[in-house]
């Protein structure tokens, strides 16, 4: 697979193929993140299209100080903010959202029942691929702020300081959102496994 940097070099030379590959690579995540900031799918699509225009027109000015991904999502969030934004970046976090349902623990805070191990099954590459769609659905179902952080940090693998910068949240908030998002995803994978049997 060609790296973003290679594709960008081709893009600078006007290679439309390279552009379409980049769009394919990031379109889904861009739309999902955009949707957090704007009131409808239609507006999200406009914002994302606008973002790609910013990429094509600004590619000569991109200096590579940050990764392409960070630059791309930064453009997205800037455009989204200026086009009819829902301002909710500073809402306090719900203080009570346990990573694991309290009824899984006994009175002392220890696991009431041993955990059913499934992690070695999922680590198998083939199994992981078949789980992709379930996880994708689960990510889409996360509360939007958790979803954005999980998308940028775990799916796109941006460094945490870039995630904070792009989303305009503090390091502490980011970690809480990430923790809750990941915890929910783990729960989904766990119940998925129990449904499918082993």
């Amino acid at each position: 697979m060609e790296s973003d940097v290679e594709l960008l070099a081709r893009l600078r030379d006007g290679d439309e193929q390279a552009f379409v590959i980049l769009v394919g690579r990031y379109q889904g995540s861009l739309l999902r993140v955009a949707r957090t900031f704007v009131p409808s799918d239609a507006v999200a699509e406009e914002v994302v299209q606008d973002t790609w225009m910013g990429v094509v027109r600004g590619v000569d000015r991109f200096e590579g100080r940050s990764s392409f991904k960070t630059w791309l999502f930064r453009i997205l969030v800037n455009r989204a903010r200026t086009s009819g934004v829902r301002e909710h970046r500073h809402l306090p976090l719900d203080p009570t959202e346990p990573a694991v349902s309290p009824d899984r623990f006994d009175g002392t805070g220890a696991w009431a029942e041993p955990l059913t191990p499934w992690e070695s099954d999922v680590d198998d590459r083939l199994v992981a691929e078949s789980w992709g769609p379930a996880l994708r659905t689960a990510i889409d179902g996360l509360p939007e702020r958790q979803r954005d952080v999980v998308l940028l940090r775990d799916v796109q693998r941006l460094p945490s300081e870039d995630v904070c910068e792009v989303l305009g949240i503090t390091e502490g908030n980011q970690r809480v959102l990430l923790h809750r998002g990941r915890s929910r995803l783990r729960t989904v994978l766990e119940s998925e496994l129990q449904t499918r049997g082993r």
Binding site: E16, V20, R57, D60, P98, L115, G132, V150, R186
Partner: protein
């Protein structure tokens, strides 16, 4: 003595709340030690930590969805028009 131990040692329900900070390397040293001490004695939390690692790794492997042929066509057209406008073209 018993009270002291209780304050010192993490219970499973606390451990699951610290897993992300642990994986992000955001725990203070002393907390990290308590966390690891608990793990050494607790197969369930060890499995839990591994499940979180696997969950994160699976998310990182999500393949990008393919663009529809229509979308490819549309973006190719857009690209041409944006390029034609030049880098500082009309917005």
């Amino acid at each position: 003595m018993v009270l002291l131990r209780r304050r010192e040692d993490l219970v499973c329900q606390q451990v699951v709340e610290l897993v992300s900070d642990y994986l992000e390397d955001a725990l203070p040293r002393s907390e990290r030690k308590r966390f690891e001490r608990h793990l050494r004695a607790c197969p369930n939390c060890t499995a839990y930590l591994e499940q979180m690692r696997v969950t994160i790794a699976t998310a990182g492997r999500l393949t990008t969805e393919d663009l529809s042929p229509e979308a490819r066509e549309e973006f190719t057209e857009l690209f041409r028009s944006w390029r034609a406008d030049g880098p500082d073209g009309p917005d």
